[in-house]
Symmetry: C2
Subunit: 487 residues, 2 copies
């Protein structure tokens, strides 16, 4: 067997390399979190120069590779654990999960079948129950952990399609099926369009319902549209309520939507990818009233449970419907003693292979406890309100949307609001500011448009943030603005 070639390191070497990595991680967190650029404005070709080469035929010393990650990967990454990162809604990760992920990778579990990953299979069900308990959803719901909200919305819509389509579409396809329509607010996440496309339901049958002044779905228009569609021969099948829109965190009138779904015998889905953890807090729970009527929902631990990527969760109130949608067991997956309580996770998912995502969620809930997580969520909302107050009290910025949770949409309007009224100018300046922020790199934003207006936008879903960070944000922002206005 002359080709034998274990890839294992010598005894002790793996440990030494992990220890070296631990030093690097401490360095990243101690120096990278504040007082430093979190984004360095390299171009794609700058970065390619650092890493591009033909397929390496021979190996390299892992110590040197770790050093390269320390310097070159870190400097060309966008360090979202920093409280100065206000970009895409990102939990920023937590320390306890770093440990869990390290141990997880070493265990290398694949939970397709119960017996391929027994602890993983059971712990996933337990953390899903905890998530239900955190937000006060029935904790006997079915659920599964997946990569992110886009895939979760897809899975939830697949369950809806299975339940609501009157035909045997699994076997026959959608070719001759009844056309079903799905309703969501204009503020819906784009992944719902993508899911409609992927499922063969057609993007045009996703009805985007206008919103009220608070960017919440207008239920009068919804009801009218449902009736119109019925009269046109479509089958209104599903209402999707949003529990925290991506643009400004708006929470749809979830109880009213649940009632309308019930009245019309429709599936009720809630996209709570970002906002739903706040339903577990005393301060914000009333905002989500009625979400528990949902037949299915989605919530992303990698957002407001501060778990590192990837960790998203779907919940389906009637577990059997989730299983009916995805269960399909071929011969080579019939292995194992099929005891009836061995519940294979592959039966609840399009995926077969899935890693032990549950361990970092278990570690997060166990290390910090729900109360501390709730405080961190409330802290984010309070800081968003604080930032909003600073904007409202200022004469050079204005809010563009309400702040129901922890997202603030605002824009620069010139000293003493001198550009107010000139929408073209305002769009132009605020786009320049967004570019300027990225070039500066001390803070990071993701902009958007609110009612067609270019908006600066900050997402606060990071447990490391304080009032001083918000003050720093506005200090840096005004420096960037003044550079742009001077130019």
């Amino acid at each position: 067997m002359k080709t034998f070639s274990s890839l294992d390191f010598d005894p002790g070497q793996l440990k030494d390399l992990i220890i070296r990595s631990a030093e690097i991680i401490e360095e990243w967190y101690s120096t990278g979190i504040r007082n430093s650029k979190i984004y360095r404005n390299f171009s794609p070709s700058d970065i390619r120069c650092l890493f591009d080469e033909p397929l390496p035929l021979d190996g390299s010393e892992p110590e040197k590779l770790i050093e390269k990650i320390r310097t070159d990967v870190f400097s060309t990454s966008n360090f979202n654990p920093s409280p100065n990162y206000y970009g895409y809604i990102t939990g920023g990760g937590n320390h306890a999960s770093i440990i869990a992920e390290l141990l997880k990778t070493s265990l290398n579990q694949n939970n397709l079948k119960w017996h391929s990953a027994p602890a993983n299979s059971e712990i996933e069900k337990i953390v899903i129950k905890w998530i239900c308990q955190f937000i006060n959803y029935p904790d006997n719901a079915g659920g599964v952990l997946v990569s992110g909200g886009s895939f979760a919305n897809f899975l939830n819509l697949a369950v809806m399609r299975k339940v609501k389509c009157p035909e045997d579409i699994s076997n026959e396809g959608l070719y001759g099926a009844t056309r079903i329509t799905v309703y969501v607010s204009e503020q819906a996440h784009s992944s719902i369009d993508k899911a409609m496309d992927m499922l063969g339901l057609g993007k045009k049958y996703l009805r985007k319902i206008p919103t009220d002044n608070n960017l919440r779905m207008n239920t009068k228009i919804l009801e009218k549209k449902i009736q119109e569609d019925k009269q046109s021969g479509f089958m209104p099948a599903c209402i999707i309520g949003i529990a925290g829109t991506t643009n400004n965190g708006a929470v749809d009138p979830l109880k009213r939507l649940g009632d309308i779904a019930a009245e019309n015998n429709m599936w009720y889905m809630v996209d709570g990818a970002y906002g739903l953890p706040a339903a577990g807090t005393e301060t914000y729970k009333q905002l989500f009233e009625g979400f528990e009527m949902a037949d299915s929902l989605l919530i992303n631990p990698h957002k407001w449970f501060f778990v590192p990527f990837e960790a998203s969760c779907i919940l389906v109130k009637n577990k059997k419907l989730l299983r009916d949608t995805f269960s399909l067991v071929p011969e080579y997956l019939q292995g194992g003693q099929e005891e009836k309580d061995r519940d294979d996770l592959m039966n609840y998912n399009l995926q077969l292979t899935k890693d032990f995502k549950a361990l970092k969620i278990w570690m997060t809930f166990k290390t910090y406890g729900a109360e501390k997580l709730k405080k961190a969520i409330e802290n984010d909302c309070m800081l968003a309100r604080y930032a909003g107050d600073l904007v409202e009290k200022s004469s050079d910025f204005e809010l563009l949307a309400p702040i129901p949770l922890s997202i603030v949409c605002f824009r620069y309007i010139g000293e003493k609001g001198k550009f107010s009224g000139d929408e073209k100018k305002l769009d132009e300046i605020n786009e320049k500011i967004l570019d300027g922020i990225e070039k500066d790199g001390r803070i990071f934003f993701a902009g958007t448009k609110i009612n067609g207006k270019t908006s600066l936008r900050i997402n606060l879903t990071n447990h490391r943030r304080t009032k001083e960070d918000i003050d720093y944000l506005f200090k840096v922002l005004r420096e960037i603005v003044s550079r742009i206005m001077d130019y």
Copy 2:
């Protein structure tokens, strides 16, 4: 801001916890790899007892939680890094990737947009190019890293659907569309059925073509079926060749399939989730001749590149077609300076959120180099052949399928083959043996059926395995058999 509540550990504590974890990992690998049970036959309720509790409201000391993972999670997991694990086709992980995953989690990148994860976005493209170079596929192909083969098959079929369906199905749905048919061998992975269902194409339009004696697709029957379908008014749209079936590693006649696809203007897809890395070896490359004709393919680094879960890769020869299928950019994702060479990974995937899967692949290729990986692949194939020889030379076992790569399907036939011919008895005994293996726990199998016969089955995709491990396997297996026969 009295609610401020960072979840960060004190300075130094994270490092200490990582170091403690490193000790545990060394312990797992030094004691768990050999000479120990890799699977302990706990019941679901046994495991639930260890972990089940209501949502924890208060936190716990992370040191104690790590200790609980060390003892309770490890003992109730199926330790697939061991060479005594022959179950689901699993690469067993490698040490270099453990480092990469630790650093990855600390960086917490989300590569939806280029500027949200610049290094990640560029490194993903580089490792995809390396994968192409490893197997000799055009390295300007488009590609994306995802969770696993099931999702990858789904994405590849979504691209095919987009390309081949004559109607605007993205917007209109499949309701009025031309019925398309897809062809794959009877040995196809079940994820292709699931993908047909999910995409609204209908499982019944997946034509399962019988195989020859070597479990490779019978191309004569394929051609006949395509003509029949054309005459029945269907549109034959796609042939899927398998480069390493799950059951026995059979590689379809890939060149012939490519020719038939070309003659009929069909999309050609190759599912190489397991086997395709062997196309990069001198010894096995001729087996895969013609795979490079594929319009799209899939290959799983978490199988035969020995990368830990999750890491799967799709490749689409014409990158634009991949992008056309998935690109959809809403307002709140238009952030960032849209330089034309900033290539957002979200445009190549149904997923938006995705973690830095590329780092462990980069680390694997860089640490070991392609030549060492090829040797490890060839070692697996040689050991499979060695195991096959032991079976063939024995009087108590027989092979049930050829061994083109590194999967061996065989069964017990009684001392001196005394049960030969009694298929019912053979099925019964071999099912008992599979149960017995699981109860014993020193080795781990996943069985299957070959031509309706219950088969023991060993998958060899682990760089840690030696000839002595195979000898040990048969020693343990015969002990289990004798216990069962004595009973």
